[in-house]
């Protein structure tokens, strides 16, 4: 069953489009990574799914219903981001108890254990926490809520690296203990890729790719060698990226669908074939130009 179904989903702010004809489905009980550059529309998409924002056109269904202003969606969804605000009149401990009264599957034992582990002061207020501590607290709410749809928008922002690792581990263990649909948006695909089952890559408000993570890792290959060789070998291929990396040396990225014959040719041309990490594939695919940042600095 699909938890989220978007069909030609568009969100317009004035004249600019944050989302453009987005078509995607997110299947039940999978951890999906929502990846994209800054301003690609990740947060807008997540907020529409959570029912915070209206969409301008197209269709969106969450649990087979329109999420905007929908109590059923709200009760079964938890949306964690760093803008999350909690009442200034309640202490952290009271906030956890309140959250517990709202979410039907809330695991208070887990919430308290995590709360202690990350050494929160029960009498403190949310507004007085540092950015990283806020993220950590929000994450505790997100995990303990055990909502069938758990959305986390950049959940680790501000966390130190040890806390981030703890968080990923906690997320995985919670997911195994209580499977649910998790959408995780992140800049740091490298850090989260092992956790993910699928990756939804978006670029300028449109879907770029939606693949299982294993396929994404094998999506492309890199070719390094003499510029002439690289150019002649890739002549008839569709380039994902092409960079000059020094005197007469080039590095090209292409789809990983070459025949053995072609790979043999590459060897003859003394080209080195290397795998491309999922993170690199994503940044090449979402780059505005085929040359990347070097393009900006190139002479002529």
């Amino acid at each position: 069953m699909n938890v989220v179904v978007c069909h030609d989903l568009t969100k317009q702010y004035g004249r600019s489009k944050a989302l453009q004809n987005m078509n995607c489905t997110i299947a039940e009980n999978k951890i999906t990574g929502l990846i994209g550059r800054n301003g690609a529309g990740k947060t807008t998409l997540l907020k529409i799914i959570a029912g915070y924002l209206h969409h301008s056109s197209g269709d969106i269904q969450v649990f087979s219903e329109n999420p905007f202003n929908n109590l059923k969606v709200s009760a079964n969804t938890v949306f964690i981001d760093n803008e999350m605000s909690f009442s200034q009149g309640l202490t952290l401990k009271e906030l956890l108890e309140t959250a517990g009264s709202f979410y039907p599957n809330w695991n208070h034992d887990l919430a308290l254990k995590l709360f202690d582990y990350f050494s929160f002061n029960p009498k403190q207020y949310h507004g007085n926490l540092s950015k990283g501590m806020k993220s950590t607290f929000n994450m505790i709410v997100g995990l303990a809520a055990r909502c069938p749809l758990t959305i986390m928008d950049e959940p680790t922002s501000g966390m130190d690296s040890a806390t981030r690792k703890d968080f990923y581990r906690a997320l995985l263990k919670e997911y195994i203990a209580y499977p649910r649909t998790i959408i995780l948006s992140s800049h740091l695909l490298d850090e989260v890729e092992d956790l993910l089952e699928e990756v939804l890559l978006i670029k300028s408000g449109e879907k770029c790719l939606h693949l299982p993570i294993d396929q994404l890792k094998e999506y492309a290959i890199g070719v390094r060698g003499k510029t002439v060789g690289v150019a002649s070998w890739t002549e008839k291929m569709e380039l994902i990226s092409m960079q000059e990396i020094g005197a007469n040396m080039s590095y090209a990225v292409i789809r990983n669908d070459r025949s053995i014959k072609e790979l043999e040719d590459a060897r003859q041309l003394e080209l080195e074939i290397t795998p491309v990490s999922a993170e690199d594939i994503c940044s090449y695919l979402t780059s505005k130009t085929k040359g990347g940042i070097d393009h900006v600095f190139s002479r002529g």
Binding site: K30, R169, Y175, I176, D194, E197, I213, K217, P275
Partner: protein, 128 residues
């Protein structure tokens, strides 16, 4: 447990190879239940689907068999299958690489064969 993140091998292949090693060194014997995908996911800190793919890889090679409702078990001839597989794939690719390197370094055929023979003998002696 750590996986080699820089390795060219996909994680699920690394997991299936780790399981093969467990079978080869008899940490898990024939007809014994293998780790579930959730146990593996926790051990290696990866998504259970990825771990499941690693298990399926072994099931496809008949190293594991499925008992309905109970999970995956090690086949009786698992060791034999794994050894055969390693010989054909791993050794083959290692030999290819070795030969290529030898050609590039202009090592003659005789010299290469001698090197391999010596190393083979030494390791056998050390093990016995």
């Amino acid at each position: 447990m750590l996986l080699n993140a820089d390795s060219m091998k996909p994680i699920y292949v690394q997991i299936s190879e780790w399981l093969e090693n467990e079978i080869l060194n008899e940490s898990i014997s024939a007809d014994e239940k293998i780790y579930s995908q959730y146990q593996l996911a926790e051990m290696f800190n990866v998504n259970p689907a990825t771990a499941g793919k690693g298990i399926n890889l072994l099931a496809d090679d008949n190293v594991l068999y499925k008992k309905r409702g109970l999970g995956m078990f090690v086949a009786a001839d698992a060791r034999k299958i794994i050894l055969g597989k390693r010989k054909s794939s791993k050794l083959h690719s290692l030999v290819t690489e070795l030969a290529q390197e030898a050609v590039q370094l202009q090592v003659e055929e005789e010299e290469l064969v001698t090197m391999i023979r010596d190393m083979h003998q030494r390791i056998k002696e050390e093990q016995s």
